[in-house]
């Protein structure tokens, strides 16, 4: 006999912080991929329908992330997770800052105005690309710093 899924029970149960971070990481990685596809489609002059579908997909992923944070009962963070979040934030900022400096140097050295032109049409894609890289990196680093899969094994 099939076991009935009770949505109320699922919403009542606490979601572990690591799982919440995993979900956020996957969602931001998906936004990153969609932004890449969006920029490529715009670059190759794809139809407006395809471009709008990707834009809508990005918006839906972001909205689902907010809905997930609001609706689900995510486990409270503690002193260790706060410390790890801080570490992940600092490391992300360092990496993004280094990447920006490297990009600026490459553009300067090769004397190219810009590799890919930023126009008002592609601005949404570029913003989402940078934002998604930042958050995907931040969530990924948190997961890497916070612990291993071994820690998630059964309770001793």
């Amino acid at each position: 006999m099939k076991k009935q899924i009770n949505i109320k029970e699922i919403l009542k149960n606490k979601v572990s912080l690591r799982n919440a971070y995993k979900f956020r990481f996957c969602a931001w990685a998906a936004v990153f991929l969609c932004s890449e596809i969006l920029l490529m489609l715009q670059n190759f002059g794809a139809g407006i329908v395809a471009i709008n579908i990707i834009r809508l997909l990005i918006c839906m992923i972001i909205i689902s992330m907010f809905a997930f944070s609001i609706k689900l009962n995510i486990e409270n963070s503690d002193e260790l997770s706060n410390m790890n979040t801080l570490k992940a934030n600092m490391l992300t900022a360092k990496i993004i800052f280094s990447l920006l400096i490297c990009s600026a140097i490459i553009i300067y050295v090769f004397n190219k105005t810009i590799f890919l032109t930023i126009s008002p049409d592609t601005l949404f894609g570029w913003i989402m690309l940078i934002v998604s890289v930042y958050y995907a990196l931040q969530n990924g680093l948190f997961l890497a710093i916070d612990g291993s899969e071994e820690d998630e094994a059964g309770d001793e």
């Binding site: 409270n76 503690d78 002193e79 260790l80 997770s81 612990g147 001793e156």
Partner: protein, 67 residues
Amino acid sequence: MPELKTKLKEYRAKLDMKQGELADRVGVRRETIIRLEKGLYNPSLKLAMDIAAVFGVTVEELFSFDD
């Protein structure tokens, strides 16, 4: 740097308490208790005192530094 040693696992075993139960009682995640038991994390004074209170012992009995 001296290493933090803890008798957390022993005391937990005495009370037949799971990591998750202890974590709930002191208001932290299970991962934090795992890290503490492995000696990979130095707890705050508040957390150390909260854990000691659960077992009814002093902080010194529960945590010590390896010389």
